[in-house]
């Protein structure tokens, strides 16, 4: 039974691992930190897995646990990193649609997002994942109105970072 549950968990996690990778990408700025956070999130998910009753999709549940882990871990170390060597090597746009100006814009935006605090990052992350405000509020445990207000503030903050 235990091995079955574990197998199920491992398979689900493997199939949904890009969620965690994306969160790690947003919250960390080098490969080692990325791996550490990935592992920590995996352990937290596994610990919480017996409570996961399949009422929501695995991915929705994983968003919540993973973001909470990232937020608690990075609460104390508010590292604002403007430039990240790890990120600068990677491109956002694929080769076919590569557009220098757009790529630069995206990079700057991404760097601006990196300067946000842990909770703001979580909101932006869910926004980037195309979640609506209902889902954002459920995942983060805040009200929908609060989520909207926060998101507007974040947009303001990002504008300020981009055009100081």
């Amino acid at each position: 039974m235990s091995d079955n549950l574990e197998q199920l968990f491992v398979k689900q996690l493997k199939d949904n691992q890009n969620i965690i990778h994306k969160i790690c990408r947003l919250y960390t700025n080098d490969e080692d930190a990325h791996k550490d956070l990935f592992q920590e999130i995996t352990i937290q998910l596994w610990k919480a897995f017996p409570k996961f009753r399949g009422e929501s999709k695995f991915s929705t549940w994983a968003y919540r646990v993973a973001l909470n882990t990232a937020i608690t871990l990075y609460r104390k170390s508010t590292r604002a990193v403007a430039t990240t060597p790890y990120e600068s090597q990677k491109h956002f746009l694929s080769q076919e649609e590569y557009n220098f100006e757009e790529e630069e814009q995206i990079k700057l935006m991404y760097q601006a997002v990196q300067q946000l605090n842990d909770i703001e990052k979580a909101l932006v992350f869910l926004y980037l994942e195309d979640k609506d405000y209902t889902e954002i509020s459920e995942t983060l445990g805040i009200s929908e109105v609060n989520a909207r207000v926060k998101m507007n503030r974040i947009k303001g903050k990002l504008k300020k970072i981009l055009n100081p």
Partner: protein, 212 residues
């Protein structure tokens, strides 16, 4: 906000490829906590042996024996010392084996068994060390009685006394010394390994909870 939506579009397409983690690697991550505790058990046991070795280098038993004219006992001590180190090395080897096993196992059932085995190994190790302390204390008393000239008076008194008063007191003091020493070391081991064992036990319980 135009830039954010640009980022969103790029984010959704996700041309960024992440190094995919395999199932085996995920299993390893799940068992990481236990393996790090077992790693600490291994490290502490090695440090402990080094510590005692360093102390015994500072204290020369051979010279002490020579002073007591108990040279014929030296060889026994050498053998005892040798056997002791052999046994302890065997324990450390076992700790190492447990560590390797726990950090590579892929199944929870196997991990639970390995945790139980590690706990047992640590327990035997502590019992062995306590036993060795009792044994060396007794050996120390015997040597003191047999060779230390300062003991002559006491021996005389015990031999010529009709009541067993002095004998009882002497034995009582010895017993008390043994109890105090063993108690102190027991406390020391409880602190050193007890914390790690408790953590390991908590892990075990956590695994068991999942094992419905």
């Amino acid at each position: 906000m135009e830039e954010l939506d640009l980022l969103k579009k790029a984010w959704q397409k996700d041309s960024h490829s992440y190094e995919q983690i395999s199932e085996v690697e995920i299993y390893k991550m799940l068992h990481k906590k236990s393996s790090s505790i077992v790693k600490w058990i291994l490290i502490i046991s090695i440090i402990e042996v080094l510590f005692w070795t360093a102390i015994s280098i500072g204290y020369n038993t051979d010279e002490y024996m020579k002073k007591l004219h108990a040279e014929n006992m030296i060889v026994y001590f050498k053998v005892l010392n040798f056997v002791n180190y052999a046994v302890i090395l065997l324990f450390i080897f076992n700790f190492y084996k447990n560590y390797i096993k726990i950090s590579t196992t892929a199944s929870t059932k196997q991990l639970m068994q390995d945790i139980l085995k590690t706990r047992k190994t640590v327990k035997y190790y502590v019992w062995y060390n306590l036993g060795m302390i009792v044994l060396s204390l007794i050996a120390g008393f015997i040597i003191a009685f047999a060779y230390n000239p300062k003991m002559e008076m006491l021996k005389d008194k015990i031999a010529h006394e009709s009541s067993y008063y002095t004998l009882c007191i002497t034995l009582g003091i010895m017993l008390l010394t043994i109890v105090v020493f063993v108690g102190l070391f027991w406390l020391f081991y409880r602190l050193l390994y007890g914390i790690l064992l408790r953590k390991l036990n908590a892990n075990y319980k956590e695994l068991k909870k999942i094992d419905l």
